[in-house]
Amino acid sequence: MRKMLNVLYVTNPEAYLVKDGENLVVRIQDQEAFRTPIHYLEGIVTFGYMGASPALLGMCVEKGVTVSFLTASGKHQATVHGSPKGNVLLRRKQYRLADSDHDSAQIASMFIIGKLANCRTVLRRFISDYGEKVDAAQVVNVSKILARNVLRVNKEIHLDEVRGIEGESAREYFSVLNHLIVAQKEYFYIQGRNRRPPLDNFNALLSFLYSLLLHEARAALETVGLDPYVGFLHRDRPGRVGLALDLMEEFRPYMADRLALSLINRRQVTGDGFIKKESGGVVMKDTARKAVIEAWQKRKREEITHPFLNKKIPAGLLPYAQALLLARHLRGDLDRYPPFVWK
């Protein structure tokens, strides 16, 4: 298994990234603010309107470091990576399977099984931790629906049915997430999932975490030589990283939703970390964003036993492990893609 390297997050709006020898140097107002050998990093994520010198980007491409540029609110703008590597035969296989509705449905349903099972674990953990203190009847109910839906997806079904069940399950799941917020209820209250722009604090937090996760999913797919743009569940659309979105599904509950809930419940982010814009959209303040990134990086370092590989790995390598398994399935070495199911 690959070694998990670090990701540098640049949130200072005046930072400019340059290369010096084999080092990455962050300059703020022409002063050197940070320096690291490039081999310490596997990714760079920047927020806001900054730049990086072409020489630096060249070095990152050569060393396989993915550089993502996000807006201040965390929306993805661009990613710089080298020419596509890896196995062209593997990618061809991916395109062929994506062209076939039947094969797409098979793979897509595995992503969704992973997602639903993990959503259910989020709910189940809540029930066992808090079930006696609050009225959890609704949560129990949704958990049962999700369990039923896993079985419904787990059959030979059409792609549209997979999407239908996914949408229905997501609605049910988000409808009870409010119960899982046990602190700061006055600041964090959601009515379903919304985005572009997110309309409440909780959705803003989720969107931000999802964009961090997307960066990782995409980098993981590129590392194993798959094309992140051609998905099975998410169909092709210019500029949309369909397969990265597919791969992300099974990690949303485990890596993002659960983290969002514990950040709120432990008051690591508070209501004053968010600003409501005139347009109705909600954005996160710099302080809140830093707290989230810190918690995110910490969570990535937590060790977890991978259910299929039966091996202890840091949580941050999960997307990579799943990308590897997906590549093996596409090659025909594995009969089915085994989604990551959190116990």
């Binding site: 962050v26 940070f34 050998p37 081999h39 810190e294």
Partner: protein
């Protein structure tokens, strides 16, 4: 693994000064400068071999010296820092 690299390069001659610059430059490429001629480098064995090879190609073994201290992967509890010159933890969260 974490390797602490320290060096002493004789600067009495022009050639010595040149060697010092070159050694320092290679060390910067592979690790974090924690004091003037002391570097903490987080390396895998291949990277260490490459660094060692480069440094030993630069120095003059009659006048200069290099020392490597191997702190392993559990290096954090073996290092304590006091005073000026802040360092960063290459395995920690890096936000600028």
């Amino acid at each position: 693994m974490m390797v602490l690299v320290t060096y002493d390069v004789s600067t009495t001659t022009e050639a010595g000064k040149k060697r010092l610059r070159h050694v320092a430059k290679q060390c910067v490429n592979y690790g974090q400068r924690v004091q003037n001629s002391v570097f903490e480098c987080l390396l895998d064995p291949a990277q260490f071999a490459a660094l060692k090879n480069k440094l030993e190609g630069i120095i003059n073994k009659d006048e200069d010296s290099l020392r490597y201290y191997f702190l392993g992967s559990n290096w954090k509890r073996r290092v304590e820092h006091v005073g000026a010159r802040q360092t960063f933890d290459p395995e920690g969260t890096i936000i600028v």
